[in-house]
Amino acid sequence: MHTFVYQRATSLADAVAVLKAKPDARPLAGGMTLLPTMKLGLAAPSDLIDLSAIGDLRGIRRNGDRVVIGAMTRHAEVAASAEVRAAIPALASLADGIGDAQVRNRGTLGGSVANSDPAADYPAAVLGLDANVLTDRRTIAADQFFLGMFATALDAGELIRAVEFRVPKRAGYAKFPNPASRYAMVGVLVADYGGSVRVAVTGAGACAFRVPTLEAALGKQFSAAAIEGIEVSASELNTDLHGSAEYRAHLVGVMARRAVAAALG
């Protein structure tokens, strides 16, 4: 690991200003991806701007049909939140299944969403729960947010403030973990908004994506049986040591059915 300057930002504006001034600086949220990357020599930022002291970025609150979660809220806080468990139990359960206890106590919602790791859990929630990503300068709808592998609609130096999830009638998340890393090889979040259903997949492609055929079928009848036999296309899905695109496509169907069962359970 190379030397770098550590700074603790006191406000969002402060952090944005520093990032603007220093092109090679990187914001530090939970550090669950950035720090290992630096240790392996794959990233060498000039400065780390620690966001953890910015109180505005933390916390969970209900706002009408939305649950608003601050970007620096730790996974363990989401998992344990009475607010989240009451409104969107699937989101609490998803957060409770991220990484291990140490990761959940350090990793943050904003860090995960901004990174758009193709195998992270939260992108499925953001996309499936029709969320808005609130940044220091604008609001980005989930459908416009994830652009590709580690690529999002965020501009350089743009920081996520919070994510607001739309509360569904019911939702479920089912994950098939990569046997080695335990990241999602396929994770499917299914959310029923009464008449319209969103199905968001993580792990299988370059970034989180929705599956319209499954959404349409579930919109007509919200049951696992309704999507039995619907083939998900393998084109553009990931192939690696742990599974072919065909396997992932198959697992999208299996996990979608299990997510529906969890939502109904």
């Binding site: 046997p179 080695a180 890393s181 990241y183 040591l241 599974g243 072919s244 697992l251």
Partner: protein, 796 residues
């Protein structure tokens, strides 16, 4: 026969005395140690699997902060430092010698695997050394690469060493080919399989680490290194690499956090740190990052085999024929030639009375990390071949696999049994372990459980493996005749201190096995003293007279036997001293409960009194005895030991995802006599987890360009606690006939027996779907693909 009876401690599940320091973080591993003025080494490794080194520019690295020196392979060659020696020479079929290319610690002209050593940077801190290592600019000319052993044998394949045409290190055989041909010609059934034994990365919890030091005032060389056998390291480095005398060379292997074979060998880093320490006059430390461990620890397994079993009409085995291609990696590691030959071919008889066996093994160089012994070393590969083909025969002939095994077992009254592949099994009872293993597994009740699982949509299967292994390595004369360039005895010294406490110096090395407890139990039991009065000292050539180290499940069977013999000498000398004190004849004195007693009387001397007399010899038999009470023994085993057992795996497969869940794993093992059943159980558990890891999870994969794709835990799947069930284990006992303790060894059995049990169970579960083979590791994707392919065949 068991000559050393238990007086209470042998056989007890005594808690491990070493654990207090380990679980409180007070173990002293190599990386915990510092020396005055110590500096740090960082290796410059090849990023390419095969390349010519055009030039190495070290100027930027030399100018970097904290850097003391940068050395290259050329510097090492100029100092005439020898390459790493190979400790075993096997012969080709035609009697000629194996190809044995040099293995310099740092390369001068050519690199042969990713991670191969090109240069070393020495700096004041570890961070400075690592940062500067990135500044060494090596100009490589990329050359074609071969990573797969079969591909390496193909005409026109890229060549790894000029000394090994067609990448062939050896073309070895064992057994009687014409007897096997005759057996096959009269066979009623011939069963065939093509098998892959997947390549593994050892992943000891403690990465390798070493410190080199040289005292110019005394000419003493010191190497502290995470090793399983410090004396072997000293012998090889002193004699073949540095040419320095052993009395000026101390090798210390302190607390070592797991080895599994990977810490048997001297590595380039051991050579480099000591060489540099001698050059710069300061101690040099190197500790592997986990990424370096993935790239540079000797790896395991990696076989392709074609197997054929001939049976008569009654399903008696007539002959076994095996062709194996073994990947040796880019260089010959210390015991690499022995692993796929004498530790593999000799075990192909398994537990069976197969009368004719022939095996041919081609050892092949590739552009990958060196391959050597890894927990089980050859024996897991042999067991996989035998136990897969036996199960395949049972399936093909529609015989219960347990019954087929029983029919072909070496009968319990058939020992000693000479196999057709060189070994003589001294004792065993395979029917007993099979019977108790099946009972433990409730084999009889399996059909009901399968039916119940089917209702839940799960495919349930059961699989058996009745393995045997050869441990207690090894009778030196036998090993020497088979190509070993070292003896394989063990040494021990029992030093009785004046006040009656005992220091045991053993050449065995504990890196997780619990020797400090087990060995102390044996000595305390024999001497009738409390365990707290016995200290086990190991891992330091400066303290221990000699030793061959720990591998091949040899420590108790060989090292323990040496300890027993030295302890007996102590008891005998004590008896003569006691006879003098008690004014009796030595023959009339028996040693019991820690006391020398004149038979039939109440006249006695405690062991402590005798010890004190030996060191304060005022009233002492000076005419016949020397003062002091310290005895040594070297023990060379008469034969290997032959642990054997029955592993039964029961599992469920989710056909939707291919996920395999082991619901029950039962093991009935015969390790001969057991000194500490808790430690044995722990060894079995650990071995089973590694074996299940090989069967279901672990796989070392290089891409075609020789890059390691599984270079971290993101892709190399280590078993976790939730990957395995709570094990059901038990033991049977046929004592080893040729060591005083009657022990056989237990360290590798779990990893040897379990993989075929797992795969056999998977194939049982999937047999209804027409799946006939599933490769290791049987990951969810692999299992799902096998199911899908079988369904496709059925549709077509």
């Amino acid at each position: 026969m068991v000559e050393v009876k238990s007086n209470g401690l042998i056989g007890q599940a005594v808690k491990r005395t070493e654990d207090l320091r380990f679980i409180t973080g007070r173990g002293q591993y190599t990386d915990d140690m510092s020396r005055r003025q110590m500096v740090y080494a960082a290796m410059v490794r090849s990023p390419l699997a095969h390349a010519r080194i055009r030039s190495v520019d070290t100027s930027a690295a030399r100018a970097a902060p904290g850097v003391i020196a940068v050395y290259t392979g050329a510097d090492m060659a100029a100092d005439k430092i020898g390459g790493l020696p190979c400790g075993w020479a096997v012969k080709n079929k035609d009697g000629s010698a194996q190809a044995e290319p040099a293995h310099p610690a740092m390369q001068v002209e050519r690199v042969r695997h990713v991670g191969d050593h090109v240069a070393v940077v020495i700096a004041e801190t570890q961070a400075e050394a690592r940062a500067a290592a990135e500044l060494v600019n090596v100009d490589y000319e990329e050359l074609p690469v071969v990573v797969d052993a079969r591909a390496a044998l193909a005409p026109g394949a890229p060549q790894v060493h000029a000394e090994a045409p067609n990448n062939l290190c050896f073309d070895w055989e064992l057994g009687d080919a014409s007897a096997v041909a005759a057996a096959f010609s009269k066979a009623a059934h011939i069963v065939k399989l093509d098998l892959r034994n997947n390549r593994l990365i050892p992943n000891a919890m403690e990465p390798r680490s070493c410190i080199g030091d040289f005292d110019s005032s005394t000419s003493e060389n010191t190497l502290i290194t995470a090793s399983q056998n410090p004396h072997v390291i000293r012998l090889l480095l002193a004699a073949f690499v540095f040419g320095i005398p052993e009395h000026k060379f101390r090798v210390v292997a302190p607390d070592v956090g797991g080895g599994f074979g990977s810490k048997i060998y001297p590595y380039p880093e051991d050579v480099i740190v000591l060489w540099v320490a001698r050059k710069i006059g300061r101690p040099v430390k190197w500790t592997a990052t986990r990424s370096e461990a993935f790239l540079s620890d000797a790896q395991g397994r990696d076989h392709y085999s074609h197997v054929e079993l001939a049976l008569d009409k009654d399903a008696n085995f007539l002959g076994l024929k095996v062709d194996t291609i073994a990947n040796l990696g880019g260089y010959l590691s210390t015991f690499a030639p022995a692993v796929p030959t004498y530790l593999y071919g000799t075990l192909l008889a398994g537990c069976y009375r197969t009368p004719a066996i022939y095996v041919n093994v081609k050892g092949v160089f590739t552009h990958t990390a060196p391959v050597d012994a890894y927990r089980g070393a050859g024996r897991p590969e042999a067991t996989f071949v035998v136990e897969r083909i036996v199960e395949q025969a049972a399936r093909q002939l529609k015989i219960d696999p347990a019954e087929l095994r029983r029919r072909n077992f070496i009968p319990t009254d058939g020992f000693p049994y000479q196999t057709p592949v060189a070994l003589t099994y001294d004792t065993g009872n395979y029917h007993a372990t099979l019977a108790s293993g099946l009972k433990l597994a409730d084999y009889a009740g399996f059909a009901a459980r399968k039916a119940e699982a089917a209702k839940r949509g799960k495919l349930r299967g059961i699989g058996i493996s009745t393995y045997i292994e050869a441990c207690g390595i090894a009778p030196s004369a036998v090993a020497g005749a088979l190509g070993a360039r070292a003896g394989l005895f063990e040494a021990a010294t029992i030093r009785v201190n004046p006040t009656g406490s005992v220091t045991v110096l053993t050449g065995s090395h504990s890196h997780g096995q619990g020797h400090e407890t087990t060995f102390a139990q044996v000595v305390a039991d024999m001497l009738g003293i409390p365990m707290e009065s016995v200290e086990i000292v190991h891992g330091d050539t400066g303290k221990i007279p000699f030793g061959m180290g720990t591998y091949g499940s040899r420590s108790l069977a060989v090292g323990g036997a040496a300890i027993v013999n030295a302890t007996r000498k102590v008891i005998d000398k004590g008896r003569r001293i006691a006879a003098h004190l008690l004014e009796a004849s030595a023959e009339d004195i028996e040693f019991t409960g820690g006391r020398y007693v004149v038979k039939g009387t109440d006249r006695a001397k405690a062991f402590g009194e005798v010890a004190f007399t030996a060191y304060v010899p005022h009233n002492f038999p000076h005419e016949t005895e020397e003062p002091g009470l310290e005895e040594s023994a070297f023990y060379d085993p008469k034969n290997f030991t032959y642990p054997a057992g029955c592993h039964v795996c029961e599992l469920e497969i989710d056909p939707d995802t291919g996920v395999v869940e082991i619901v029950k794993f039962s093991a009935s093992d015969d390790f001969g006599r057991i000194v500490n059943p808790m430690i044995v159980e722990g060894q079995v558990h650990g071995g089973l987890v590694q074996g299940i890891g090989q069967a279901l999870l672990e796989n070392c994969v290089y891409d075609e360009s020789g890059q390691l794709l599984t270079g971290s835990y993101l892709d190399y799947c280590m078993p976790r606690a939730d990957d395995v069930p709570s094990f059901q284990v038990m033991t049977e006992c046929t004592p080893c006939t040729h060591n005083a303790l009657g022990v056989k060894g237990c360290g590798e059995a779990g990893a040897i027996g379990s993989p075929p049990a797992v795969i056999n169970a998977i194939l049982d579960a999937l047999s209804g779907l027409g799946v006939t083979d599933v490769p290791m590791p049987a990951t969810p994707h692999v299992v799902w693909s096998a199911i899908r392919a079988a369904k496709g065949r059925q549709v077509a």
